[in-house]
Symmetry: C2
Subunit: 486 residues, 2 copies
Amino acid sequence: MDAAEFRRRGKEMVDFVADYQENIEHRRVYPDVEPGYLRSMIPSEAPLEPESYEDVLRDVDRVIMPGVTHWLSPHFYAYYANSTSFPSILADLLSSGIGTIGFTWAANPACSELETVMLDWLGKMLQLPEDFLSETQGQGGGVIQGTASEATLMALLSARLKTVKCVQESDPQRSEADIISKLIAYTSEEAHSSVEKASIIGGVVIRMVPTDEHFSVRAETLEKMVAEDKATGYIPFFFCATLGTTPCCAFDKIDELGPICNAENIWMHIDAAYAGCAFICPEFRPLLNGVEFADSFSINPNKFLLVGFDCSAMWVKKSADLTRAFQMDPEYLKHEHQGSGLVKDYMHWGIPMARRFRSLKLWFVFRMYGLRGLQAFIRKHVELAKTFENLVRGDNNFEICAEVVMGLVCFRLKGSDELNKALLKQITRTGKIYLVPCKLRGRFVLRFVVCGRTTELRHIQEAWKHITELSSELLQNLFDHEGKEN
Amino acid sequence: MDAAEFRRRGKEMVDFVADYQENIEHRRVYPDVEPGYLRSMIPSEAPLEPESYEDVLRDVDRVIMPGVTHWLSPHFYAYYANSTSFPSILADLLSSGIGTIGFTWAANPACSELETVMLDWLGKMLQLPEDFLSETQGQGGGVIQGTASEATLMALLSARLKTVKCVQESDPQRSEADIISKLIAYTSEEAHSSVEKASIIGGVVIRMVPTDEHFSVRAETLEKMVAEDKATGYIPFFFCATLGTTPCCAFDKIDELGPICNAENIWMHIDAAYAGCAFICPEFRPLLNGVEFADSFSINPNKFLLVGFDCSAMWVKKSADLTRAFQMDPEYLKHEHQGSGLVKDYMHWGIPMARRFRSLKLWFVFRMYGLRGLQAFIRKHVELAKTFENLVRGDNNFEICAEVVMGLVCFRLKGSDELNKALLKQITRTGKIYLVPCKLRGRFVLRFVVCGRTTELRHIQEAWKHITELSSELLQNLFDHEGKEN
């Protein structure tokens, strides 16, 4: 395919994507396919000779689309929002077209520098303390990680190294392995599974901190655990706070937890993957109070800021904590401005060395929406969630299971877990809307997240109507069944 | 921006990308900017109100392009090839348009299943042993990782867990921390820096294995080190072999190393990021003989198979070794086919949980080029490298520093490191072509890699002419200077 054909096919693909998104709500949001459906639909080997583009595109409709869970559908209410937008898609197309791989500044100065400035822009939108910005020429700064999992892992690994060094300073005889075997990380029992995964990768013990009635970690609980662990010879070194937990969007009290972490030399990382995006709205910003105590902080613009996956923004107060941990400089990666303090070689800031030109997405989206446009987008989602909450509260068969703060509503049928599992099973089978469950205090709960860029009031109303219809059937069957038994 | 505007802007962007790539060779390949050039060119904060798309696009030309290192230019001879293509860009656009995030099978069955089948296709193109394929319904299979760094890290972490379990089976009292403190990983002194980084992340000791005169790790050297380490109570557990090292594209002798690893219960991972792609050509496939001894193997289709970054293909013989290491199943990620053995939840196969729909790129590229088209692409690069090698060999001022096997030529001016550094500095400053150096046996060497999809014979000839002109100037200056001194 030469450039001339790409012009033609590319424009067709643009129309294909536009058609797809314009008509997406008429598709079944959760696919009706069985495991292994795809293998039999295509050859078992790559072709020897080139095939025609028409054949490939035809197969996208024939093979791919029937098996797609349509994340961008307004009927998609699962996980947390995945909020891409047209400007983000354009920026990603540009990034693919430039085809750069940014690891050092020299590998693409524009890629490195735009990332630095975009993280400052976003940091200011969030009113982060200056310590986290690059423009102050201090020790802080931001970086794009692929996922929040990677941001958490980088924070934990950096904290591990820092603590080992610190312990060895006062006790030079103590081996790294011995110190690591005594390290303890902490996170909420409600935290995302990636925090536990990070601790396994890092080879350190993690303790799950119980939460209060609002599913929040409180100071006294952490304080007590830290004291216990210190008393038995362990070394508390890392606390991952969550702002907006995955199950029910709860918020740890970082303003009271932060001082404890600081006093105990515990690295505080804040994982605010979803909810953190909403802190660009002044009414939500108070939930971030206490960030000044944190060593690192991350949000996922690809969750709630109209930026396509993958894009996790991470800020650190002392970038050397990150870069020092894994800095390696083979000859083929050296360049003349390295170590000058004037440039950022982002390869030292994360797990993978090579990186795509992702800051373009942030730049396009911030400029095409403006801060006000992004705030309006977030407020609309929150409002729609409140609407859904009110619908649930208006129905005596249902209950709300956690405070609705942003775009997530946790609810369930009053009754057994089995009943709620049966309801979700019906919802998934019908495929009209898609949600996933969670567990809260051991109970099976349905999560309804307003996700789509194009989700409107009518979709919320339709969704609720659909849920109540299915639940009425279920309850009727149950009633009939019980009637028969009596 | 609504779908109608996206249709218009998207088509413009397709033309922008086509124009960029068609005219890229007239751009200065390495940018002429100073550190910090970008910050002063754009505002210090995001706009409050939306800006026009015209302004954004104008700034791509004004702000971004002057600072871009043009990886897709035919004048780009640095690092290793980054070989994207138009079909890959189209597939990525489709992926952005679908906007899916695949972590479990349920999150997007098509995304999970196409990945499995594409890794089988590629595995067959490489003539991998059946143990590594999914279609045999055995324990093996493939996965797309973001980068080779992540593939190596996943292999090392899986090996760590496997060894800990194995040691504890015979010695249940021994703590994980104690075992980890005794683990030793091995890799070539010529291996990529990401292997050492993986060992630091994993908290294990790594030893660099000396290479023979061809920069290859040999059996007797590894065998001796392993015996020494075992004698002093250490536990050899991981060997990362390299096929196609970064400095000079050397090949470890995996056919003789594999049996040792198998006998010693050492996990053998093969990092063939660049060179592995060429194994789809029968004439290069013998270099992969011995892969049957490996536990895991990875190549980067984004380096040499016309697939855009990021796309690192990894195969394992026992996928449970990977998935068991980090399997976590919170309620919100469960689905009905989980654990059925029929589906793959790729979130357990890597560091990040969420993943883009990257298998589309492989599918588009394999079908639009066909196996023969991809073989022809690789052979052309190798041939051009041979041409460059002959040009170097024909000039008595220069020497070839390592055998030219694929697209990389290592060469230098006969003379001091300083002389060669001065030459490279001139090349970089002039900005007409771009190369990076390496060190071989302590000597400073220039690397010339045929990278571009559009690199032709004339570009190679021009590049050589340019290099010899700059070196003649340098040598003349040196001669004049020495003349003055005498």
